[in-house]
Amino acid sequence: MRNLIYFLYKYYTFLLFFALEMFSVIILYRYNNYQKANFLNFTGGIASQFYETVNNTTNYFSLREINDSLLTENARLRGQLLNAYYQNGLAQTSINDTVYKQQYTYVAANVVNNSIMQRNNYITIDKGAAHGIKPDMGVIGSNGVVGIITSVSEHYSTIRSALNSNTKISCMFKKNNAFGSLEWNGDDPKFSMLKYVNKHVEVTMNDEIVTSNYSTLFPQGIPVGKVYSHLIEADDNFYNIKVELNTNFSTLKNVYVIVNFMKEEQLKVEATNKSDN
């Protein structure tokens, strides 16, 4: 017993170091693998409030750019309104349509904090659980894909940006629906890599890349980027494709969180497949 106490006394610094280090590695590991630890709630959202205060101040300097991007988006959306089309028919009776059922809605949010030059980048937005946002929802900007929600507090959420080593987004070519996985290699925030595209697929410069219909996070066909360069190693089965991203992450201000009403249903059906084999 005395020896034990002596041992503890002699090495207490190392033991304290070991305990604290284990603690941090364990919560790091849990967070990386399961995205369960709700860190925003844990730290009381003080950080988010701080970033919002800073953002409220700095936003005044970029009001012109924000206005411009909103105007272009408005113009594009106005073009899709019903009254922008010429009515090429007789008066129609309205019926309760059961063929079209709404699957997605969008929650608009403002970016309060953003980083682009880290290896793993995160974005904080000013909408949270109170607005119906849950972890693992997709996020898009006015030009294209932005990222995936990781943790949610009452009024704030953090997004794992597409510029993050843990973010993989299922994508396809707009022209022939060939699939690939979008992963960032940490090199340049303007570009990302499209992996696992089979070598028999024909790839040319400026091919449009959009989100695929495999994902439960994004609706099919949300723009992602354009093919910037592509090459294939001699003994490789897959392309190395460099994609120029549509979203400009350095000036990102307004984003939309995608709420998918049929996500649970799809995941439930897919889960029954997995238990089969």
Partner: protein
């Protein structure tokens, strides 16, 4: 004693604001991500008890993690550095430093001593931080390049900070 404590708290808040509002917005390239808040742990007095240094490192990391939304990442790196700091000082600092409450600064220990000290500990911090951030050895050499370039830049900023804010030599 109280004055000392207040000085440290003020320095802590100032360094965090500097890191978050200025250094994080430099955004030079993806290969240079300097972290200067570690200057707080570097500048703690030489004769501070190792377990206090560890607890201080723990809280510094916790605060940084909540701002970066990376639970455990900065915490692990600062604790690692705080522990190595004790080892390093036992070898590199002399008996006098331990008897008086000298803080390892350029003013007290000279530029060369401080450069080696800052570079060693910054490298240890960045080594932990960047490798755990990527969480794999797939990009080993790219990560190594990011670590060395970021550490060199951090040390440059730390030395500039030291020259600006820590000029006063402590009277003993």
């Amino acid at each position: 004693m109280i004055i000392d404590l207040l000085t440290y708290i003020a320095r802590f808040v100032l360094l965090i604001l500097l890191q978050l509002l200025v250094v994080n917005n430099l955004e030079l390239t993806t290969y240079i991500n300097p972290f200067i808040y570690i200057i707080f742990i570097l500048s703690l007095p030489v004769n501070m008890k190792p377990w206090i240094v560890l607890i201080v490192s723990f809280f510094t990391g916790l605060v940084m993690d909540s701002f970066y939304s990376t639970p455990g990442l900065h915490m692990g790196a600062t604790i690692f550095m705080g522990y190595l700091r004790g080892f390093y000082l036992r070898i590199a600092a002399n008996k006098e430093d331990f008897e008086t409450s000298v803080s390892p600064s350029i003013a007290d220990k000279g530029i060369v001593w401080f450069l080696v000290y800052a570079l060693t500990l910054t490298l240890s911090h960045h080594l932990f931080l960047f490798f755990f951030e990527v969480y794999s050895f797939f990009e080993f050499f790219r990560t190594l390049l990011r670590i060395t370039s970021s550490a060199l830049f951090s040390v440059l900023l730390i030395v500039i900070g030291e020259l600006l804010f820590f000029r006063k030599t402590k009277t003993r």
